[in-house]
Point group: D2
Chain length 290, copies 4
């Protein structure tokens, strides 16, 4: 396990440790050239729910356009819908978000099927990019004998970190967990999809979480990690090891990338800029603004 | 178009035609031999919602077991959860269900992306068994030039009926729409998955509907058809042509079979009997019982 | 059928028409930067066999390197093997080739399995990029009812021309006939692989032919077409419609691209130039040089 | 490594050990019911070549039918071709075969690409059931750091033995090495295909060898193992561990199962019996007959 991998592991909780509030500033710029009228679905709004709270936010769309922001009743993520004419389109979304993230419980147990809340059962099933049915056998052979619980999911995440190469331009939007397992290379969403698929293969509910995270290399992009349902709550894992998942400002969670793409485009578009940035607000500065 | 295909097309509405109430009796028997403790998720309850109403129902589980029936808050389908010990397990579910199904509106229009209600957007996205992303190009080439609307979805359904062979034992639970398109054979769920995938490729929200339907051959089994979102409501299509979708007693709707399997098993099980039967209640008999 | 497609069809033979000799000048330049010692297998030599005869040829390798040219005992194609050190590597192959190509026999019949010469039986079997086993059902459904013979293979070629989009950068070296059939886009080798696969699905021996051909757009590259075994000989078909296959100067034939790649590299290499050019020698000029 | 695996490893040679002649009796019965005229390609004849010699053999076809046996000029395997009418068809092939198999050279080295004889280059390339291109990355990651040579191929074979489950009825004739690697189950041909694919991924020429072998369980069937080209000759490996490859009476070698299927059928046929048996002739009995 190298230095990067350690970053990917969450820092374990000390007993009864209170989740400290931490503040993050998101600044996301997206820029496109539309070759024709195009309908967009964007997921760029920070999640206002779970262990996150949006303190302030602003959205600027250029040119000025009618748009609609829809909030999912169950999971809380927001989808921005708009139709834009041919020509340039620029979005800037800024937010200050506070995280009250409980440290990971490394002793968290897997739950038996009958104990799982009904709401998480869909997260046991195979999905477009996480064919847990096809990976059931190999997942079980590779991880089935490990002691169940948080450490087993950590082993899944560590295995992915060690055996899958981070490589841009190798996979695309139709790449699935099976492809990644075979090709042994991909980007953050591919790593996370494989983690989700292996967890489901082990009968552990799992899902994709996407959001804002800071990493030095490669250049800024939206980040994807995975969540496993352990001990009655969702625990975060980053198999790329590029971030500490405690610092992820979630945008959305979903079964896989088909649920939570940051942009879905219905029209011919050239992408010019994707720059989702996030920075933790240092204590003093935060205090001043509070 | 042969005789069977005509059955698969829904009878068009006359203007202002009232949806007549019709009654159906469901009688579903399932029988298994469990080789070990096994957790089950069953979807056998008739949907009590949309254009259906459950008038009476009973569920008998042998041996007598604790169980739980969970109703989905949004879509209304019910999931029966139970854990059973090694040995025989038998289920019998009986219900009388009334359908107030509005006749199909063959002039229903496709809706533009921006006009779609937010709730149906997930039904535009690719899913485990309906890789509409991979079939986008071919779907558009095959059906993209047809006039949009109900007739285009009917053309999709007709094409599937004419080009895919109904054949049991050829596909399995991991078969996807792409496989079916290549192999040109499958069962009702495969037909429906391909219909869903082509609709989504055309930017028409579509989903799988499973339930009780009567057909002479092959032997009784759960049925699957697909629904397309046209003119603001869900229209039913049966590309197998084996049933009139107006007679389908829905159990559930979902993105694909990963959402709405009639039985999901977590344990080693031998299936002994699957006999989901349904019969329309003739008018006189219905009156007597009412 | 558009103008391009007509080009792709071979001009039919008049009865007893003699195959005229025609001369072609090949001028092929390849240039690479090797990041380390690299072993190469090149197939750039014009085939000296079948209906082709190499009149003159020269090969210049820069830097000067030991190399070996191996001639296949059965099919006659040549493979250039060499090992080059890190740094630049340039190849220039020039040849004058005469073609005595018999015009296509559009009345050629398919042969029954028992009448096929033993040597062509391998060309009935599925191969890496031509999964005729997986396409058997669809191939038979699409073309099985057509009258057998040359016209049926032409129908396969025409179907590909009409339904597959020529698009560079969409497929890669692992793309197969099934992928092309699903994605409906590719380059010449993808078109040819699909033609091969459909023919084999119909029990017609078929193989890939690669070589030098002239087309205006896209920029110069090696070309691939397919050959079907009809009436006891191999007939050429170009489903891209970009060339008249009568003008193809063959380099090699094989079961698919895994047999006849123009370059196979065992090492880290940057490709700088691929410019395989060919030109028919006009009568007067040819006479002067002869 | 369990007892079975040890059987799968070949017994290493002592220095200068002479290959002893051993005799095997083959008795192969095949029986079919043809629903229509059917053309067959059979590969049942013991290979008369390499380290094998056919001493006596007989072939009985019932009903009596015209047939043709073709011997491959390069590899020496024989193909029986016949066309049979609707009704029963029975084959019985018997042979006494002597093997002069040189014990494996466990110190055999891998050869550099430039040192490989031209004839084995095709065995470096991906084939229908051995997609070594898609498995290149994972093969290299798994085995790339091991010391090259016989022990590395043995490590590949051992890995397959330990991680792939022998299971009939799980795979079919279109299952490839990638499928097997994902699903972790299959039969002898699947094991061998994966071995071939991994070797090619490591730039070691490899091919499938099929033939007669004795194993207690499962019931008699044709066997498949793989051969890797090491130190200038082909070494046998049986990743199923069910046989000692030294005892394999080869029928044929080829790139994969598409080259060497024991039966290829062009017609509707019901298989009634496949019983390829082989037995080593004990010394005394052999001496008497010699």
């Amino acid at each position: 396990m190298n230095a990067i991998a350690r970053k990917g592991r969450r820092k374990a909780a000390r007993p009864h440790e209170a989740a400290a509030e931490r503040l993050f500033d998101v600044d996301c710029k997206l820029s496109y050239t539309l070759l024709d009228d195009t309908h967009f679905l964007f997921m760029v709004h920070a999640l206002d729910g779970m262990d996150q709270k949006v303190r302030e936010e602003s959205l600027r769309i250029t040119p000025t356009l009618e748009h609609e922001v829809h909030r999912d009743a169950v999971l809380g993520h927001r989808t921005l819908r708009l139709k834009a004419p041919a020509g340039p389109l620029t979005l800037r979304y800024r937010a200050r978000v506070s995280l009250h993230r409980t440290p990971p419980d490394t002793r968290a147990q897997e739950m038996s099927i009958e104990a799982l809340p009904h709401a998480v059962l869909p997260d046991l099933m195979p999905s477009r990019y996480c064919e847990s049915d096809r990976l059931a056998s190999v997942g079980f052979k590779m991880f089935g004998d490990l002691p169940p619980g948080h450490s087993r999911v950590q082993a899944v995440s560590d295995w992915i970190h060690e055996h899958i190469e981070y490589r841009t331009g190798f996979t695309d939007s139709s790449t699935t967990a099976c492809d990644v397992f075979l090709q042994r290379a991909g980007v953050c969403r591919d790593f996370a999809h494989l983690g989700v698929a292996f967890c489901r293969a082990l009968n552990i509910p799992a899902r994709l979480a996407v959001g804002y995270a800071r990493f030095d290399s490669p250049p800024p992009d939206f980040h994807a990690v995975f969540e496993a349902f352990l001990g009655g709550r969702w625990e975060l894992f980053d198999p790329t090891g590029m971030t500490d998942p405690d610092d992820l400002v979630r945008i959305a969670v979903g079964r896989d990338a088909s649920d939570v793409a940051f942009a879905t485009l219905f029209g011919p578009v050239r992408t010019r800029l994707i720059r989702p940035e996030v920075e933790q607000v240092r204590a003093r500065r935060a205090r001043v603004r509070a």
